[in-house]
Amino acid sequence: MNGSRAVTPMGSAAASAWEELVTAALLGTERRTPPGCPPGRQAPVTLLDAAAVETVRRRAGLRPAPAAARLEPAAADPRPPLPPAAARRLALLLADRPGTPGGSGRRGTAPDLMELLPQWLAAANAHGFAAPPQVLPALLDAARGRTDLRPAALAFAGPRALWLARLNPDWRFALRSTPGGGAALPGAEETERIQQLWQEGLFAERVSLLAAIRAREPAAARELLETTWATERAEDRLMFLDSLRMGLRAEDEPFLERALADRSRNVRATAAELLSALPDSALAARMAVRAGACVALDHANSAEAGGGTRGEAVLVVEAPHECDAGMERDGVVAKAPAGRGERSWWLGQLVEAAPLGSWSGRLGGRTPEKIVALPVADDWQGELHAAWCRAAVRQRNADWSRALLGAPSTPEAGGPGAVSLAERAKLLATLDSAERAAWVAGFIATHGLSEAFQLLGVCAVPWAPPLGRAVVDALNIARDAGSYPWSFSGVMGLAERCLDPSEADRLDGLLAIPDEGEDASPGAGSYWAEAFQRLVGTLRLRAAMAEELRN
């Protein structure tokens, strides 16, 4: 019997008698006669008789084995348990995991439950409920397959999930995703433990430690990093430096300035990028001077250059002629990518790193709107505006973002103007959520849904009422235009997850199958009805989910 079986308390005599039987059976009674058996025709039967008695005796004599070392109990979860209805809902959402075979490709009218899991988790976390222990394996499996679920899933799963993850290699990701691998991080006062973990810990543990301290006490994290900075490997320096991005402040400047002289180019570039996000830093001031030297107002030439009325100002751009050592030290990359002129490449980097606040003073006290509206001579507008966009995103400057976005209803907002959709989405992210929603609503009202997906993705959930109405109206127009709903499946999916559930009642009118118009695609009407049914069904389900968690 192997070691994992229960102990059989047989005397050694009985044990060896059984061994003899097994040996005789393996070799055959023709070659080996078991003890106490007469050889001959009856030997196999006698052997089987004896083995049957031994087998039943051995089984009947099984006794428990000594227990192995007990597990350290999981840390208590002080959060209140889920209401029963919410616990049932969670079981349903988790039962709909992808990878479970079956189900057809077409979506039909039923809600996509897995897509609702992120919301459910966010709501449960907002209420501060504890996860039922028995769902943790399914929850960890779901989070294992979808990295975007992990932060919310692990927050909800709580301390017991980390306890479990230490027992099952499939769930190691949970330890990596949680600061300190789930072990309690040293508290602020435990300087000795902090020092020990920082000196001896694994790289991932050190990154987590640094991030945790940075969140708690930004200066202390920087000081800790400085103690070992000179001895870290280049790729580690890069990661550690990057963790200063969170809670970046003016006090970090001296350290970052020193990092500009780092041996590694990537470290230098990151230090420069961080410094340029500090508008009052010396680097930002140097960049402001450099960028300012490249862009100037010209009143005299305006008539010839832009063809506008006399006296109207024009921006004239004079890109740098060289990338000097000072620029390189401040993070400007000298070598342009293939296909780009190096002068415009340098200009872009200077303008991107220069503090946006410096332009107004340099350009006659104009507001960002006025500056963006200025005509630009010699086709430099694209390059200049793109650099300003990057600067607005990096410096999270809402005034400049608003100016660069322009009015959502302008025709160029819908087309591939100077500012791409991806850049617009990034600019929108610097605005507050109400303004963001209003801009996207205006955009959809003018340009429809075909370009809206990326912009909707940055809007706060649930969508503000004007935005929700704009999306529903646009879907309705698309239906009336006779196209198929799957051209809009991306937006539909977003609407299912993001529309305010209270809008469900307003959608009831769209559930019926409309009369087919002459130029409509065949059968489109019933597919639209199906899509709207799924939308309404999902909204009602979300309302029910929210209600269950409130009880």
Partner: protein, 467 residues
């Protein structure tokens, strides 16, 4: 030997909860009814109010609704969960799955309890089907259990005799094959491979001894089952030999043991035991399947009688067996035992209440007593692989690549069966325990302990199915 007394987990258990009619099931309990994984998935997608209209439920345990499908006319779905012979389903969809995804979705919607399935009067189409069903059930009950198909007892006796003769011939042939095997040595079995055993199994099927055939087929798999196979093969050969001898000399055996032998050989019997009326807690439900047959095993615990009973239900390959009971719920019913010493198998008779939530838990015991019970049970049925027990205050503990269930209050532990270590249910058990004690129902046998259901320690908590 110290006496193994059961420790009652819920002293003075009451059945107040049983009177709450129309208590809703949990999603897990509904999904357990699904015939396969794809129905499970399709059903859970329909468990939202979107496609449903005019849904409702009655206090008598009926749920109905209209489900929008791909056609113009919605499907009419009705489920009777109070039916005495198990949940009954009716749906106008063309699916041959049973229950279909619409019935599952409707039950999930009902279980979700968010007002999508209000109390109400059943519509005409549902009422019609219900009355028809209940009338037929009434007639069947009135007709009584005396429904023996062939009226001629003399013919039946002759058939039984002919069958016994064929089994005897089969058992004799099998004895010969076992003797040949042992004479040449088990080592030859490794080379002979599957074919030899398959052929022998087919001979046993011809001999109308399905129990022997199944055991022979299992012998065929042992030589490839990893280290220690000669020991396992000798054990199983010896027990098969014991069963052969038991059949050939059944006239000399006490009645109970002879009945056990007949049942192990696979001679069909009928549940002749007196009906025991009790509140039966559903301890566990799980399926095993081979290429031909799906077997569903349902363990019940009688709250008043203290008895443990096993219900078996079969489905043709790929189809779910019809009988399904949600784990953790209890219902009042009559159960009759099948013959045979140490046999726990029973047949479900009349049911008096639908399954409803309960606070009853099976009384638990220690690992030492669990092992002892299995040993005791072997006395009546030496072919028993495992015996159902509830362990009280145990905790899962990893040991090497395997796991144990350790007593919280002693230094002893039962190893988990290898199949249980590989099963995902293990992690639900570990998660529920969190390093602390839990109550675990399962099967304790010579391969180790197989956990089937667990309850959290202390305060009332739902049963967590592990299988």
């Amino acid at each position: 030997m110290d006496r193994c007394e059961d420790r009652l987990s819920v002293p003075g258990s009451t059945f107040d909860v049983m009177t709450q009619q129309g208590v809703r099931w949990t999603a897990d309990q509904v999904l357990a009814l699904a015939p396969d994984v794809s129905s499970r998935k399709a059903g859970s997608k329909l468990g939202a109010s979107g496609p449903w209209s005019e849904a409702g439920s009655s206090d008598e345990g009926t749920v109905w609704g209209l489900c929008k499908g791909s056609g113009s006319k919605p499907y009419q779905t009705v489920v009777d969960i109070a039916d005495a012979t198990g949940p009954a389903y009716k749906c106008s969809c063309p699916s041959r799955k049973f229950p279909c995804k619409h019935a599952l979705g409707l039950l999930l919607l009902w279980a979700g309890g968010d007002g999508a399935v209000p109390r109400g009067e059943a519509p005409g189409w549902a009422e019609e089907w219900l009355t028809g069903r209940r009338k037929r059930a009434e007639e069947k009950r009135a007709a009584g259990p005396a429904g023996s198909p062939s009226g001629d007892p003399e013919a039946a006796r002759r058939r039984a005799e002919r069958r016994a003769e064929r089994i005897t011939a089969g058992a004799t042939e099998l004895e010969q094959r076992l003797a040949d095997l042992l004479r040449g040595g088990l080592a030859t079995a490794e080379q002979a491979g599957y074919g030899l055993w398959e052929e022998t199994a087919a001979r046993m099927v011809d001999a109308q001894a399905p129990g022997l055939a199944a055991r022979v087929r299992e012998l065929g798999a042992i030589p490839a089952s990893g280290p220690g196979w000669p020991v396992r093969l000798l054990e199983e050969c010896a027990l098969l030999h014991l069963l052969d001898r038991g059949w050939l000399r059944r006239d000399e055996l006490p009645d109970g043991l002879a009945a056990t032998v007949r049942s192990r050989i696979g001679v069909p019997g009928s549940a002749e035991g007196p009906p025991v009326r009790d509140h039966w807690l559903v301890l566990a439900q799980y399926e095993t399947a081979d290429a031909r047959l799906t077997t569903r095993r349902i363990w019940l615990h009688g709250a008043e009688s203290g008895r443990t009973a096993l219900l078996l239900s079969y489905g043709a390959a790929g189809r779910a067996p019809e009988l399904a009971l949600p784990v953790g719920l209890a219902f009042e019913a009559e159960v009759s035992a099948y013959p045979g010493a140490g046999q726990l198998r029973a047949a479900l008779g009349e049911r008096f209440t639908p399954p409803a939530p309960t606070e009853v838990r099976p009384p638990g015991t220690t690992t030492t007593c669990a092992a002892e019970r299995y040993g005791e049970a072997l006395r009546a049925d030496p072919w028993l692989d495992s015996f159902p027990v509830t362990l009280d205050r145990v905790m899962p503990v990893p040991v090497g690549g395997s796991w144990q269930l350790a007593d919280a209050d002693t230094d002893l532990a039962l190893p988990l069966a290898p199949s249980a270590v590989a099963h995902p249910g293990l992690w639900r058990l570990v998660a529920l325990s969190g390093g602390g004690p839990v109550t675990v129902f399962g099967e304790c046998g010579h391969r180790g302990f197989t956990p089937l259901t667990a309850w959290p320690e202390g305060v009332v908590g739902q049963a967590v199915p592990l299988c």
